[in-house]
């Protein structure tokens, strides 16, 4: 009698994750919080741990450029890889680049299965919160 309620985690990993996802999962880039002091620090959170995915982006901005962008994630390997990939892409870019992230392009790059699309929306949500924080950065001073 087999155990249909139990799945062997290692059974199909070779097929489940692309080499890029595996690399990011094993050695994520820019994980953690900001390491330096910046003119502006932006933070955006998406998802809920209770729902299985929660990500936070931290962005350090100098002269309108994202001098440092880091992430923290509670999520699957695809989620961790997507966050890691994005921090690589966005570091050094203008803050407005946060609005240029295309989930479909990222999904293709990471070879994301269709059932994981929702994870990218959570990540996009967190990034947009950083952007909103940037757009509203002067409100507190008025």
């Amino acid at each position: 009698m087999n155990d249909p309620g139990l799945k062997a985690p290692g059974a199909s990993h070779g097929q489940r994750y692309s080499p890029l996802v595996v690399r990011h999962f094993e050695q994520p880039h820019h994980a953690g919080t900001l390491s330096g002091d910046y003119e502006t620090a932006l933070h955006g959170r998406g998802g809920q741990r209770e729902q299985g995915t929660e990500v936070v982006f931290h962005t350090g901005v100098d002269a309108g450029l994202m001098a440092e962008i880091t992430f923290q994630a509670f999520g699957c390997p695809h989620t961790i890889a997507a966050c890691s990939e994005l921090t690589v892409r966005l570091t050094g870019r203008p803050v407005e680049a946060l609005d240029e992230v295309r989930p479909d392009e990222l999904a293709a790059c990471l070879d994301l299965p269709v059932e994981k699309t929702g994870r990218l929306l959570i990540i996009e949500d967190a990034l947009r919160k950083c952007l909103t924080a940037w757009d509203n950065r002067w409100l507190g001073e008025k």
């Binding site: 139990l6 062997a8 290692g10 999962f25 299985g52 929660e54 509670f74 699957c76 059932e115």
Partner: protein, 392 residues
């Protein structure tokens, strides 16, 4: 040490070399290839003799007599045959069956099938320790109850049910008692007479025998007849028609003999390995043992881990061949019903790992498992957002 390290012996075991030799002999010996049902010549007689010797070996393991053993393709078929066959045969006496939500799907789905056929099904919920108390069973019985099916050892969390006490309750009320013993046979002593068991399902593949063979014990005094699920021959008293696969049943018989001979040696050694693993990981905050601390079988250890996401945990453990308490590969996959029944959250049910140990398991492998688990848990917790690192 070769990786991945196999720690999934509750899923299946390798075939013991001695068992394999006995099976091969059935395939290669010139006088053993006959059909065991061919009663008119020596070839059939030789095959039948080997089949009956195996039947005796299986019966001995559980304190039964050989004539009470019916060959099946495995424990799943045995469960189906017992539950559906007995309920149908005794339908005029009542149409209520009792089981538990933590049963293997082979039992639960068979009972739920009966539910679609006009039977009432009560699924008992265990306490937070995974134990079904005999009093719960007694309370669930009605005048219509004909059958109770409770597993001996849970396949996910390894807790041991008090089948002797539950059997006594059933016997007192004149209700048939079926036990799925796929995870307990060979690991724990079973005495179908002393434990008042009427039907019991067995699997060879959990005890270093071959896959594709199992057996159903039927107490001949209590339930001399059940309805077959298949038709087409008189083998196994018409309960399981089809040519008996001599090499398979000989493998199961030999596995039963060996596991009986080695039980105490294996039990002590495997308990030490299990304890070694728990000593290595149990002290880490947020590593939670699933199931009762004392009433558990030696070869299964199931833990849930706070602060980590299940799929990443399992991927991080890919150098270990272990099982998950649930499948996390798609959003549609539900967390383990067994772990949920213990009160574990969906997240904790997903972030669970079942380790199971066997004869070949070494201390070095267990130490590797400890290191692997601690490494990935620390790494994933380090990645998690600060607000969610709280352990709860």
């Amino acid at each position: 040490m070769k990786t991945p390290v196999y720690l999934d012996y509750a899923a299946t075991t390798p075939v013991d070399a001695e068992v394999a030799r006995a099976m091969c002999a059935c395939l290669t010996d010139a006088d053993a290839f006959g059909n065991p049902a061919s009663g008119l010549h020596a070839f059939g007689h030789e095959a039948a003799a080997r089949v009956e010797r195996a039947r005796e070996q299986v019966a001995t393991l559980i304190g039964a007599t050989a004539r009470e053993i019916v060959w099946t393709s495995g424990a799943t078929e045995a469960d189906n045959l017992a539950i559906i066959g007995a309920a149908r045969f005794r339908a005029t006496a009542g149409r209520h069956v009792v089981t538990s939500v933590t049963e293997h799907r082979a039992v639960l789905d068979a009972c739920r099938y009966l539910g679609t056929q006009g039977f009432d099904v009560t699924e008992l919920r265990p306490g937070a320790n995974g134990i079904i108390e005999p009093g719960q069973v007694e309370e669930a019985l009605t005048g219509e109850t004909t059958l109770v099916s409770i597993m001996h050892v849970n396949n996910e969390i390894g807790v041991v049910q008090d089948i002797g006490a539950i059997g006594a309750v059933c016997r007192r009320h004149g209700v048939l008692f079926h036990v799925d013993a796929a995870q307990s046979a060979g690991h724990l002593p079973i005495d179908v007479v002393a434990q008042s068991i009427d039907m019991l399902s067995l699997s060879a593949q959990k005890i270093y025998g071959p896959k594709g063979i199992g057996a159903l014990y039927l107490n001949q005094d209590r339930i001399p007849r059940i309805e077959p699920l298949m038709f087409g021959g008189s083998q196994e008293h018409g309960l399981r028609p089809g040519t008996v696969p001599t090499h398979q049943v000989v493998g199961m018989g030999e596995a039963c003999r060996m596991v009986s001979d080695r039980r105490q040696i294996d039990a002590d050694r495997i308990a030490a390995l299990r304890d070694r693993l728990w000593e290595g990981i149990g002290g880490v905050p947020g590593v939670l043992l699933n199931g009762d601390r004392e009433r558990r079988v030696n070869h299964i250890l199931n833990v849930s881990i706070t602060g980590v996401e299940g799929e990443s945990l399992h991927y991080g453990l890919r150098d270990l061949a272990v099982s998950a308490g649930s499948a996390c590969t798609t959003l549609d996959d539900a967390p383990s019903a067994v772990l949920r029944s213990l009160g574990r959250s969906d997240q904790l049910a997903r972030a669970s790992v079942r380790f199971s140990f066997g004869r070949p398991t070494t201390g070095q492998e267990v130490d590797f498992a400890v290191r692997s688990l601690l490494d990935i848990v620390a790494r994933l917790r380090g990645l998690a957002p600060a607000a969610t690192q709280a352990l709860a």
